[in-house]
């Protein structure tokens, strides 16, 4: 078992070795090079962006609660001083576009990689910090700059006479070209994505160097906790995929401003090329959003089943397989752009193959729980919730992989339901699982578990009520990205909106829970979860010392995937 006294020893050492004092006040965060402080900044940023993104989605559901256009003309009146019906429609488009951009680039990615990755990768592998602490600081502070750009884009002209860009997060030309949106709003969105991309690329280089090179003695690759593996796989995905987005957006930017014609048929370009390049980035991107969640759920399930993860090596290879396959299936987003039958056959098959490693993961989580001594503490509830909703999203993904069915439900609410089951429910549930799992470690305080469970049930019920009926709406033919619908779709839209309000209430409860935990100051022990929590972070104090592992811990042979720290090297 882990020798806790040894770590107390290391800790004392840490303070001895370190001459300069812990910085205080704003300098501690603005100039921070400490992986835990930067992780905290990322989490605060992600929670703030998540609240904004949720507010946007609640506005969308409020509009769709009834047929007709009721809500958005007033919002447009407030935001751009034009309360006309057209302005309302445009503002609806701006809202779903911003909702997607904010949730993807400013909520899920910062929370998983920047937040939990920064906090726990060095702790789990026994490293004193990230490989490049100053670059880490740059990675974080590029994000608020990027976010500012996206906010500016909402208040400058996009389409003629309208503020903000409403062409969807994919930024397809020709709507995102000068032909559709001559105003500078799109340029701000593009530059914002450039900064966010740079932030993620720098961050991923940092993670790769840290994980490959800074592991404590004895922490071999195949003894690393699965969360660390998931961050490593995601970092490679980011490194290979985000530059492609940057390239595509740069081409769009030069098309708009410098007369190039990459996507402009007038000069021999083709808008479909943009879709290919975008989805070459875009499909790996959805795995970037979910793979760290796989890692978190593996840690949580193993902790609360008090068993090592079933099939550790299989879990690692499954993540690698999902990551590799993610690069060769992009055109399944484009089945309706006129591909030959053979091309469609390939993309259908390749896409369905992804269900195999994904199935390996789901079965391994279930097998980990099987026969385990289960404890339904809040992180475990979220993790089981994740397995359920992610499996639902995975099943509809296999349905959508069929080109013939996709032709029918392309750009309908069926697709919306599918990717929200994997992202809005899957990724978000894993983030909450991680948050409730590590909050005592990060803050040093215990939260109110009853409240956390209520948060789970509110969100679980609310979000299933929101998105499950959207499958029916999609099969009935309701198109996505449209502000109004025919009366026939009313009933399930009404149910869906009620669900959104319930999960919105859940988000408010979450904020109160954090406030209550910091106010009540119930001090957390080093390991609040008992013998199932075997990774290195639980051997440190809660919160951990400002610097840790200056003398690296030595990791000895134990069950695979279940590394336990033991005596000094």
């Amino acid at each position: 078992m882990a020798s806790v006294s040894h770590f107390t020893d290391t800790e004392v050492h840490a303070h001895d070795d370190h001459e300069h004092p812990v910085p205080t006040g704003w300098r501690r965060y603005l100039l921070s090079t400490n992986h835990k402080d930067i992780g905290t900044l990322y989490l605060i940023f992600a929670i703030s962006a998540g609240i904004l993104g949720t507010a946007l989605s609640v506005a969308i559901r409020a509009e769709l609660m009834f047929p007709g256009i009721q809500v958005f003309p007033s919002i447009a009146h407030v935001l751009m001083g034009n309360g006309s019906l057209d302005a309302g429609k445009h503002m609806y488009n701006v809202f779903f576009t911003s909702h997607a951009l904010i949730m993807i680039f400013f909520m899920v990615m910062p929370a998983m990689m920047g937040g939990f990755g920064n906090w726990f990768v060095p702790l789990m592998i026994g490293a004193p910090d990230m490989a490049f602490p100053r670059m880490n600081n740059l990675s974080f502070w590029l994000l608020p700059a990027s976010f500012t750009m996206v906010m500016i884009s909402l208040f400058v002209e996009g389409e003629p006479g309208m503020h903000g860009f409403g062409g969807g997060w994919v930024l397809y030309p020709p709507f995102a070209s000068l032909a559709g949106s001559p105003g500078p709003s799109v340029d701000f969105v593009i530059l914002s994505m450039h900064l966010a991309g740079m932030s993620s690329i720098l961050g991923s280089i940092n993670f790769i160097a840290t994980i490959l090179n800074m592991r404590a003695p004895g922490m071999t690759m195949f003894r690393m906790p699965l969360f660390v593996w998931s961050v490593l796989v995601t970092a490679f995905l980011l490194l290979l995929a985000l530059p492609v987005l940057a390239g595509a957006l740069t081409m769009l930017l030069t098309d708009r401003n410098f007369g190039t014609t990459f996507f402009n048929p007038a000069g021999g370009g083709d808008p479909i090329l943009y879709q290919h390049v975008f989805w070459f980035f875009g499909h790996p991107e959805v795995y970037i959003l979910i793979i760290p969640g796989f890692g978190i759920v593996s840690q949580v399930v193993s902790t609360f089943a008090k068993k090592p993860v079933f099939g550790y090596a299989g879990m690692v290879y499954a993540m690698l397989a999902i990551a590799l396959l993610g690069f060769v299936v992009w055109a399944h987003h484009m089945f309706t752009t006129g591909m030959s039958l053979n091309a469609q056959r390939y993309y259908v098959l390749a896409t369905m193959v992804i269900a195999v490693p994904t199935g390996v993961k789901v079965f391994s989580w279930i097998a980990t729980m099987w026969g385990g001594s289960l404890q339904l503490r809040p992180p475990m509830l979220w993790a089981i919730g994740f397995i359920f909703v992610f499996t639902v999203g995975g099943v509809t993904g296999v349905v959508l992989a069929n080109a013939a069915i996709d032709r029918y439900v392309h750009d309908t609410y069926y697709v919306v339901a599918h990717f929200h089951y994997t992202m809005s429910l899957g990724a978000v549930f894993s983030i909450f699982a991680g948050f409730y799992y590590w909050f005592p470690k990060m803050s040093g305080y215990l939260y109110n578990e009853a409240m956390a469970k209520l948060h789970f049930w509110l969100t679980f019920v609310g979000i299933n009520l929101t998105f499950f009926p959207q499958h029916f709406l999609g099969f009935a033919g309701m198109p996505r990205r449209i502000v109004d619908y025919t009366d026939a779709y009313f009933a399930w839209n009404f149910v869906s909106s009620i669900g959104a309000y319930i999960s919105g209430a859940g988000a408010l409860l979450f904020l109160y829970l954090i406030y209550e935990a910091f106010k009540a100051k119930r001090h957390a022990p080093n390991n609040p979860w008992g013998p199932g929590a075997t990774t290195l972070e639980w051997t440190l104090s809660s919160p951990p010392p400002f610097h840790q592992f200056l003398t690296p811990p030595h990791i000895e042979e134990e069950e695979v995937g279940h590394t336990i720290a033991a005596g000094r090297a």
Binding site: A131, F132, M135, P160, S177, L178, A179, P182, I201, S204, I205, N206, I208, A209, L212, N213, M214, L239, L240, A241, L242, P243, V244, A246, G247, A248, T250, M251, F258, G259, F262, N264, P265, A266, G267, G268, G269, D270, I272, L273, H276, V277, T337, G338, M339, S340, L341, N342
Partner: protein, 197 residues
């Protein structure tokens, strides 16, 4: 800094440089995708790109398909373009000529380029053009009219392509765009032309 720490940081630096180089080469590959895509479309007929051929079909086929014509002029070019007929019925392998009438509606000589493709997109591989006004830049004087021939045939091999089994009608579409003006004012006019409608 101890020796082992120094070794660690130099290994870190090597990893960072490799990572940076990977990111930069991915950006490079993304830009390389643009010419590659054009070449790919030309070679395979992807996205409804007709094939350009020198000679007529060597054999005659048995299927007869409808070929419809569509002609457009992009905003910013004061020309008119129309086909002499809306559609013709063509047997595979038979070379067909259709004329397009063009007229310059403005008071000055202007130049234009035509972009073209066929739909359904899968028919691009089997739509062979022998001669077309779209292969080169066209000039028309003030109010001048012209009749341009398009010579094409449908490759009889389309009969063996399962993607074409249910395709009975192919549309050949043209859009005329103003040719780029001399370098100095190119950017400005493009912006006005496309955005202003």
């Amino acid at each position: 800094m101890s020796a082992s720490q120094e070794a660690t940081s130099s290994r870190n630096l090597r990893l960072a440089l490799a990572g940076g180089a990977t990111a930069l080469s991915m950006i490079g590959l993304t830009f390389a995708a643009a010419p590659f895509y054009t070449a790919f479309c030309r070679a395979t007929g992807y996205e409804g790109t007709p094939q350009i051929v020198k000679a007529d079909a060597s054999s005659k086929g048995s299927r007869t398909l409808r070929v419809a014509f569509d002609a457009n002029v992009a905003p910013g070019l004061a020309w008119r373009l129309e086909p002499e007929t809306d559609a013709v019925r063509v047997r595979t392998g038979k070379t067909t000529t259709v004329y397009f009438r063009a007229q310059n509606l403005s008071d000055k000589e202007t130049a234009a380029n035509a972009t073209y493709n066929v739909t359904p997109e899968v028919s691009g591989a089997w739509f062979d053009k022998v001669q077309c006004f779209c292969f080169s830049e066209q000039h028309l004087g003030p109010h001048e009219t012209a009749e341009w021939p398009v010579v094409f045939f449908l490759d009889p091999k389309l009969e063996t392509d399962p993607s074409m089994a249910r395709v009975d009608s192919i549309t050949l579409s043209y859009t005329l765009f103003a040719a780029p003006e001399p370098r100095a004012s190119a950017g400005a006019s493009k912006r006005a032309g496309l955005a202003g409608g």
